[in-house]
Symmetry: C2
Subunit: 560 residues, 2 copies
Amino acid sequence: MSAARMQVLSSRNVRLLSRGRNEVFAGRSGAQRPGGDPRTRSLTCPPLSSSSSPGRALSSLSATRRGLPKEKMSENGIMSRAKVLTIDTMNPTVKKVEYAVRGPIVQRAVELERELSEGMKKPFAEVIKANIGDAHAMGQQPITFFRQVLALCSYPELLSDSTFPEDAKSRACRILQSCGGNSMGSYSASQGIDSVRQDVARYIERRDGGVACDPDNIYLTTGASDGIVTMLKLLVCGEGTTRTGVMIPIPQYPLYSAALAELGAVQINYFLNEEKCWSLDITELQRAVNEARQYCNPRALCIINPGNPTGQVQSRQCIEDVIRFAAKERLFLMADEVYQDNVYAEGCQFHSFKKVLFEMGPEYAETVELASFHSTSKCYMGECGFRGGYMEIINMDDEVKDQLTKLLSVRLCPPVPGQALMDLVVNPPQPGEPSYGSFIKERTATLSALAEKAKLTEQVLNTVQGISCNPVQGAMYSFPRITIPEKAVKEATETGQQPDMFYCMKMLEETGICLVPGSGFGQKDGTYHFRMTILPPTDKLKILLNKVKEFHQRFTQQYS
Amino acid sequence: MSAARMQVLSSRNVRLLSRGRNEVFAGRSGAQRPGGDPRTRSLTCPPLSSSSSPGRALSSLSATRRGLPKEKMSENGIMSRAKVLTIDTMNPTVKKVEYAVRGPIVQRAVELERELSEGMKKPFAEVIKANIGDAHAMGQQPITFFRQVLALCSYPELLSDSTFPEDAKSRACRILQSCGGNSMGSYSASQGIDSVRQDVARYIERRDGGVACDPDNIYLTTGASDGIVTMLKLLVCGEGTTRTGVMIPIPQYPLYSAALAELGAVQINYFLNEEKCWSLDITELQRAVNEARQYCNPRALCIINPGNPTGQVQSRQCIEDVIRFAAKERLFLMADEVYQDNVYAEGCQFHSFKKVLFEMGPEYAETVELASFHSTSKCYMGECGFRGGYMEIINMDDEVKDQLTKLLSVRLCPPVPGQALMDLVVNPPQPGEPSYGSFIKERTATLSALAEKAKLTEQVLNTVQGISCNPVQGAMYSFPRITIPEKAVKEATETGQQPDMFYCMKMLEETGICLVPGSGFGQKDGTYHFRMTILPPTDKLKILLNKVKEFHQRFTQQYS
């Protein structure tokens, strides 16, 4: 180790001593705190024990947050005391990773919640986290049937409890009989439980009007994110101008940019057309791939439909054109279809890439490589915490498939409760079964409430001068364009912030509303946006939208 | 694309057409099939619906397993038809990954189970998968209290059910109150639920006789594997001779070699001393690191204690020596302690690296970087399917910690049911609580049965000439050394197999017993071993051990 290198380390270690607690903590908080959401439905429970208050986490910080004691720096033992792992010696690709959905603004929101809970005065009574599609955290109720089956699978003694409906019991039995030792505590096959993959296959066949689905093409995953990252991992190779490039929409869901950064792949941006309701133009795809071929090897095209954060729903024609484009340009298609039940707008309909591909005839159906992703986290379920999901893989080379299964086996298996939940999503109560009525009632209520909130959000935001919002045709977010006055842009730039980050931070501090700046998803230069979920309960959403309206007017006035 | 390259692709595609179904399937099967384990405890359930028989998965294979139709290969459309992703164009580091615990021998075991279920005659009635530490699949019962709480968390309506004990209800309430919207369906903080991290911290403080633990150093993970891979990911950097090297024991648990291969890090082997009951010698560590410094940059040292696959339990003295060595050589310590409750041998005791580190005084306690890993999958719980785990991180640079949290946030959060289960493991029923008695009874029964089976396994195997087995001091496996006759080694080498793979394959075909060859874990050249779990019920384990004995004698005779 060079003296210079040691110097860097020592000075860094000294600097660490001067980091304030908040500064240290801000960088490390997650997105939620225990019982922190005032919207939680009430339980007949004793009060939360003091041991789980955030206080303790803070109180003992000093104990292990010392960096290296200064007085020891000069001893000759220095070599053994300088840290092995520092910001300068860690994996450089990890440093490049960014994920705005849980970025600095969310960390500040968590801090504000702590400060409120500690009695600090704020211009608002609660923090509203509209930054992430976390339905249950916003008060959405789980589907009763799903939770009954999960309870039965967790504690099979309940199978003899007469209060549980028979269809819930038979689902639970089928799942348990597919588990080693009839227990969700056993590892499943790395690809997922066979019977669940078969149920997924039949669901896809029903969804796609009878297009055949082979259960052997289904891989259960730890949420859709896991499947997407795994597929990207398989695709990455080459160096320099032969390095794998992956086309992603702009605006995008930042999992894609984060995964590509970590894998050291080349991100190829294609811009969605905001003027045409965030539609996808083939000419733009062509421009992007042509330019990219000069500096990398474009191998995959990612589509998010319905769109996140942009909420558009693709037409069948557009999907056909995308498939032709992928075939012509030899691109592996990745279709992120986790919002497939979240379609609200008149005349809009979800078309799966799989279905369209097969309807285009053998020339495409037998050659174009496609991976499509689904999840238990969105739609009417909103079961994010269970980390359930699947991917279907079409036309993948058999040897690559073997490699995929081998790779998955290292992580043993996806969480079995998430697999069970995925099974229920693709195999819900059928007409004639005891739980059918309540299931349909609950699902319909959730989806129509979302449709109403999508419309409401678009309408209210479009009444604000300086905010223009495309129709929220699907998914769970609005991504309105906002006008930020020159003076505000200037002030933001001077403080080294993106103008929309500056805008959202100000909104958070003044209103307690936590949104994600458009810069976290990507946007055309000079345009500014934010992403806001439409998930809060309607009455709360109305208040939230009015607060946004008032803030925008105040902000515009202040900086004009 | 060059003509030569196209030729490669076409010939590969043509070759794909000739792959037999079994051959294709063998490479892709997982480790289990629905209801396939005859040891499953019986449920009062309807018979498994035919739709979930493996037949369907096979029947439709032909539909999507065509590779590229031959007659189309010659058309000029070839460019668009050659696959984007092939074995030659996929990520080369993924190809290097190996994971024997679910390798070819397990895939063959799954095939044999299918063949048995389809009525094919075999010299055995059932396949016994002793290849993996999957307790529930081997008939071990889950802890009642844990499953009651999970059922309550899954379906909170049960909180009003008087048949559930009060302590289960209060645990469930505490967990739910820490979840957004009081639902396990919400995302948690990326680092894990605050109250769970606080319970983990208090568990560690109790376990380590009062050594302080900061909840902010606790990260909940998706099983221990997730934490281990994440830590390795942070550590990898540099190229050529400055590339990060990581020291792992040989024999090792193959997650380590697999992760290092995928990350492109350098695997540095240090050999455990089989003659001294798989003990760890510092001189061997020194040899390994000295040699490694010539071709890479050793930055981390991985320890598995109690040992997997080797079953040794490290002495306190040895751990102290390892810590001194790590400090002297500036290595980040990774302590895999997932078997911390699985200690059976007289005079053996589990000592955590954290405790020993802090007892060595500030010179070490404040400087040596340590990550220690635990899981819900092993010990007396055996809840593998829930993918619960945590890691504790000591002396990590604050900026790196921020990067770690950022990296974890991309995957949103570990499965919440797994976090809940981890919470119960570290915060089980206490004396005076209604479930305390049954909890202690169940835990003791499981652990003493394991102790008995550990002894039994060692004793029986050591009665066999040509098999020598070290005491199974801890963990869940025996890793006996086997003598393989020259003739067998020759035949194996001629068929391109490792001699112990040849041996285990033969045992599987003749007895239905599925073991993992020592070559999958690493072993000294010229020595051969297999790993066998001690998990089967005692009566079944006796039968299994006798079958192994008979097979070894037959095999030895046949090849001498």
